[in-house]
Amino acid sequence: MKPLAALIAVGMGLTCSAHATDWEVDLDMRLLSSDGQRSYLDGGTGALRYGENQSGLQLGRLRLALDQNIGELWSVHLDASSWGEHDKNPIDLTEAYLLFRPYPFDGLRARIKAGAFYAPISLENRGPGWESPYTLTPSALNTWVGEELRTIGLEGQIDWLGTRTGHLFDVGLTGAVYGWNEPAGVALASQGFMLEDRQTTLFGRVNPTPGLNDPREVFHEIDGRAGVYAGIEGRFLDRLVVRALRYDNRSDPTQQDGVTHIFAWLTTFNSAGARLESGNGWTGIAQWLQGETTISPHSHRLGYPFDAKFLLISKQIGRHTFSARYDRFEVLTHFVTPTGDDYAQYGHAWTLAYLFEPNAHWRFALEWLDVSTESALREAILPSEELSRERKIEASFRYALGSAVR
């Protein structure tokens, strides 16, 4: 009887709180043709999610999301995904956090997040599940954010809501303390920037050794030191968003994880960006990120300065969205590589995308992507492949279901 009573109690609890639960299930299937190399995600050195060997039908993403309010001011957000690859777990969390949002007071509003979530860096990944409503594949810059960065800790945000008090703009300040992010930078150093839409899950892995399919968990605490970031955001009405953020994971680059053998990468960067939207469907996004990631094995300092930027122009006509983006990125080295170079990767990419959302449930997308990279790391493995041009054309069919879908 006890299990039955417990089941009834749970059922009643769900019924009572059902008014404040939102859920969503998305299935995104892809049909693609790629002439790319074997992907870095697949143990190769390719900069795309799918290499030539993976052309055809693929599972883009299966996503399950749940927003549960707890009382008036607290809520829990869970986002889990399966990316159709042989990761450690067939389905895993990309985000999981508790949000505290007290009522605004005299034009000031506070938000506190605790758990695992994205730092406010990307201006294109603004959709549910941190997806972009402009393209299937995020920019090189934001691909890296999805691949290696997750705030696992505490973030506080305070906003001055000027637009609610007769002014033209709002201003917000963000600060965070986090851990489990020391390996961030290993993918940049071992592969460089990529253009792909798979987000590393909280227990997911990246490949620390280029050309060797031996992925390791990326969200690990190695040195016991907390990282920090601080950011500012300004919004002019609902037309312009400007963001800047300083990130420092404060790792001790001499430390190495005993289990994964990944070093603690000391990663610092500045990021800035702006998104401008017009009243007639035009959107322009410019983002820039510049920093350095370093390890010091056996007192040898190996520093990799990196820089990525992109410009995206998008036009929405009814339910149709047309976008074009240009990416530039580079990872340099403060030392001479085994191939005698002082860089790890240079690259640039063009992306053209068309998205059509006939209703809230369906989305059809077509994307063409052309990325050229020059990689000293690839040269070390495949000497004839230092320069690489990879292209793909990809169709996406996504169906969304749930109370959060409108």
Binding site: Y103, P104, S122, R239, E277, E357, S403, R406
Partner: protein, 255 residues
Amino acid sequence: MRPSARRNTRLIRGIDPEAAFPAGLPWLRYGYRAAAILLAGLLTLIRSAGVPAAVPGSVPSASVTITVHSADGRPVPGAVITVRSLAADARPSAPIKAVMDQINRAFDPDLLVIPVGSTVDFPNSDTVSHQIYSFSPAKRFTLPLYRGNPNPPVRFDQPGVVTLGCNIHDEMVGYLVVTDAQYFGRTDASGSWTADIARGKYRVAVWHPRMNDDANELERELTVAAGDRVTHELRLTKPLRPAPLSPHPHSWDGY
């Protein structure tokens, strides 16, 4: 407007004239019918004109048209016009019961003009929960997270603009203009608003959610003489702020 007018007609028709006026007084019976029809017609006219019930039928009035133009001469639709009497014994318009719904993550309508003392119901017709707040000096309040219509109506006792937001969906903005004026309304697509206004001295004010002008500087005095047809133009001196972008199709900007 129309259903209530019909209700009034039914109410009047609902009285049995045979019982009210016994046999022997047929002229009175017919006179009653005529008066009832006339009264019903008058009520329908007044209500369908969209003018608040404060229109005093017995006081001579004039048809007043207020037009609002932007700094570059274009008509401004949706501007709130209030016409407040300067008479010492003037009383605000009678309170009303209004409804502001929440549909597709937007307040619907996004702006209401209500007399002081009115109450507003805030149902939520969305499938997602909303949580309303206002920190405007004219009325500070919060409505806890809800769906459907579990909350009692909110009463607005102070004149002023009340800006509403949802603590979960930042893009939701609504406005309540609480006024102690005798006449009020919003300009139509041609930027004009017309009402029958009793003779007297008034102060005309204009407000728009996207107005950059100081509303106090745009106030004008207006003298209404009986039988006039008055057109009064108000011109903004600064351009309006751009209109909000149409709501995005999905739950964007959680990041």
